[in-house]
Homo-oligomer: 113 residues x 2
DNA sequence: ACAATATGCAACCTTTTGGTTGCCTGTCAA
DNA sequence: TTGACAGGCAACCAAAAGGTTGCATATTGT
């Protein structure tokens, strides 16, 4: 269970994993079996083991937390790191947003003269 | 030059590429040669071609825009998609942030009884 | 014109990633 | 206790990602 920024970005880089997060957001505390149902890779359904691996990656990135209850394992969304990316990483680019665009616009106009 | 969310997330998944974005944020409109200087992969310096590939990926994801001026190619940060991820993608998780945590906390307490 | 500079393109290589199959372990319910 | 159910583990595989070397092209300054 690392906490590095790179691990989080890499975890978010996969469509299936983002879909898993979405589904936990819709309904928190699902089991592997629940999440396994109807998770598809471009149309085709993927196996339980594949989903399990994705969940392990999300858990390692600290994006989901799990609780074992009996023979099932419940998965809970942990939105803290998503929030952190928004605050710390995206935030710093936010500051330069308008500035960057105006600079680019100026350069483009200079080129077209 | 696609505009898909997946392409953007995949582009952001690499540490070197995020560093390139950081450096364009610090100083916009740099050439490949500029960006090439001192870009390292865990200590070791990487070749111009590797940096070029990374820039191509960023450009394809629409995170950088380029202008050719003579024999050099200037790279400009395009923060629009980063902003969009913050607004549309992170935003929807923001809503469920406190709720998710309280749910998880309740489950944990229930387990420890 | 010509050498140096700035970049592009393609082949190739290695590691990582996403996925599968097969089998094993633990838990619940009849 | 004995199936059936939920999940874990490990080996294996194909494709994608990251990087390199080598050569080609275009532009600039002298």
């Amino acid at each position: 269970m690392k906490n590095d920024l790179d691990v989080v970005f890499k975890a978010l880089a996969d469509e299936s994993r983002r879909e898993l997060l979405d589904r936990l957001r819709t309904e928190n505390g699902q089991t592997l079996g629940d999440l396994c149902a109807r998770l598809s890779k471009s149309g085709a359904v993927m196996t339980r083991q594949a989903v399990s691996k994705h969940l392990a990656i999300l858990e390692d990135a600290n994006l989901v937390a799990t609780i074992k209850r009996g023979r099932e394992k419940l998965h809970y969304l942990n939105p803290v790191l998503i929030h952190e990316i928004g605050e710390r990483w995206i935030g710093k680019f936010e500051r330069s947003r308008l500035d960057a665009l105006s600079t680019l616009k100026k350069e483009l106009e200079a080129k077209n003269e």
